[in-house]
Amino acid sequence: MSRELSYAEAVREALRQALRGDDRVLLLGEDIGVYGGAFGVTDGLLEEFGPARVRDTPISEAAITGCAIGAALTGLRPVVEIQFMDFITLAMEQLVLQAAKVRFMFGGRAAVPMVVRTPAGSGTGAAAQHSESLEAWFAHVPGLKVVAPTTPADAKGLLLASIADDNPVIFVEHKLLYRTRGPVPEEPLPVPLGRADVKRAGTDVTVVATGVMVPRALQAAEQLAAEGVSVEVVDPRTLRPLDAETILASVRKTGRVVVAYEAVKTLGIGAEIAALIAESDALFHLQAPIVRLAGAECPIPYNRTLERAAVPQVEDIADGVRRVLAA
């Protein structure tokens, strides 16, 4: 049974079902209790599950993360909320040197089943320290998984899968998607990690898009359809491990690729996607150089016009597709 939920509601439903279904699950984060989280995602969970399992923490990102590691190592399945992805910079040591490596360093004799949820992205006028898109850093780290849902259904299903996963998962939510709505199954059905989703099938150009670029790419595809261009939109959904096969299959079919992501272009996730194509046989199917559309090489500015100019918009994606077709 499916009904319409917002992306934020879908995340909340996944958390609620996980908390109901498994005593080992607990939430940790700043202002996730009575405040309901900076973006309202955990609203109501304190009331249902109490302050022990929906635990408001002081402002200590490193220690909160460490708490999750310690809890995960000793039988629990913690879910941390880092209020803005920017603040995850304070927890890099715990996430990357501890959570990601413990299992390997201990010869496979430990597991760290934890999830770090965090809202990313610009577009809210919050400027350079509240608009980060840092997923590429984590996708560079063996031992971590990185998930970035773009629809309410994926948000719910991928979060359930992340909580059920025995590895540390960075779960990147996008602020601008929280209010978008879509059908979501009522049941707690996980969406498997590591599988891309073709969000729109097409034949002329492949647009591989992540995060908020997925709805933008879909809008651009709609516009381009009117121009007679058939765009395939591929949403990797999981950024580590990347589902290279789905991407490469699409590229082999269309021979033209646009990669759209919000993070800074240099070494953002699209760099890896372009590299995967360039080192595969799909290279020989390319009829034009790959076009990467991504964040400008600057911090996110405050002013609304500058902020818009700093990341790809629908029209930029449409132009990118036209460009890759013209080449």
Partner: protein, 322 residues
């Protein structure tokens, strides 16, 4: 607490600055409600005595590091309200050419090394400013403002520890407004107040009524004098309260209306005004004039900002590298 060395003129100047901060933030609130601001902001209404009392103890060439709730610090250190408003509205004439906004206003000219969007983010930097002062052998002082919520961050600990062992001229000013977003200080702190932590760094820790600008000023003056004399850092905790929500999206479910009302009755501006009237240092007319001046200055700032150009998107990449 009496008016100490301050003198009536200085005290009146403090009232003036507090009124300006209040007027600025009430206008900011209004503009926000009108949908004329894209972004977020954090108002310090109710807390004005802290920045004003502290900055009155500083010289123009002293430094401050501010926080996300930084409008008061900025004005108290001497910023031009017009360029602040322009920044708030994202204009090219703003202090940061519209790139920074409320959370990043900086005015290097008055020694304000910037607001900060990261809780505790300015603390290690302030220690570095202290180090720089020590190495350059000037007798400047650096003040680092932070909220009591920041005292849970590792940065707080590291910064104070380094300042202590190196005896740096930094005054760490905690604005304990009882809450970090929704987290009550009594729940986040195992000790009574942040000043209790000063002993862990062998530095003086003083708690002062943050609603009393003169008390704040006296305590700050002492800490600043210590720092200037080469006697090292201090931790000054000012107990205060924010009247408004944490930011615009706050439903304030973590506190009661009564609590807010109780604190509002101790308003730092009303208290200082009443006191100056009682001491005869100010007449009702003087007071009304100051209030009008503040409102007019802010209105003029809005006009200035609104008449100012937007930044040109063609300049987006200009300020990334020096």
């Amino acid at each position: 607490m009496k008016t100490v060395a301050s003198g009536a003129a200085q005290t009146t100047a403090m009232l003036r600055t507090m009124l300006l901060i209040r007027a600025f933030e009430e206008k900011a609130d209004e503009l926000f409600a009108l949908g004329r601001v894209h972004g977020t902001m954090h108002l310090s209404i109710g807390q004005e005595a802290v920045p004003v009392g502290v900055c009155a103890a500083l010289r123009p060439d002293d430094y401050i590091l501010s926080t996300h709730r930084g409008h008061g610090h900025c004005l108290a250190k001497g910023a031009d309200v017009r360029r602040m408003m322009a920044e708030f509205l994202g204009k090219e004439t703003g202090y940061c050419r519209g790139r920074g906004g409320s959370m990043h206003i900086a005015d290097l000219g008055t020694g304000n090394l910037g607001a900060n969007g990261i809780v505790g983010g300015g603390l290690p930097i302030s220690t570095g400013v202290g180090l720089s002062i020590q190495l350059r052998q000037t007798d400047q002082v650096c003040v680092a403002f932070f909220g009591e919520g920041a005292a849970a961050e590792g940065a707080f600990h590291e910064a104070l520890n380094l300042a202590a062992i190196w005896r740096l001229p930094v005054v760490y000013v905690c604005e304990n407004n009882q809450y970090a977003m929704s987290m009550p200080a009594r729940q986040a702190l195992p000790v009574e107040g942040v000043a209790q932590r000063a002993a862990a760094y062998a530095m003086p820790g003083v708690t002062v009524d943050g609603m009393d600008v003169l008390a704040v000023h006296a305590a700050a003056a002492e800490a600043v004098a210590r720092a200037r004399a080469g006697c090292g850092p201090s931790l000054l905790e000012c107990v205060t309260y924010r009247y408004k929500g944490h930011s615009k999206s706050d439903r304030q479910r973590y506190r009661s209306r009564e609590e807010v009302e109780t604190w509002r009755r101790r308003d730092p501006i009303a208290a200082l005004r009443a006191r100056l009237l009682a001491e005869g240092a100010l007449s009702e007319a003087d007071a009304a004039q100051l209030e009008a001046w503040a409102r007019a200055a802010v209105a003029e700032a809005v006009r200035f900002a609104e008449a100012s150009p937007e930044p040109d998107p063609g300049t987006l990449l200009d300020e990334v590298y020096a």
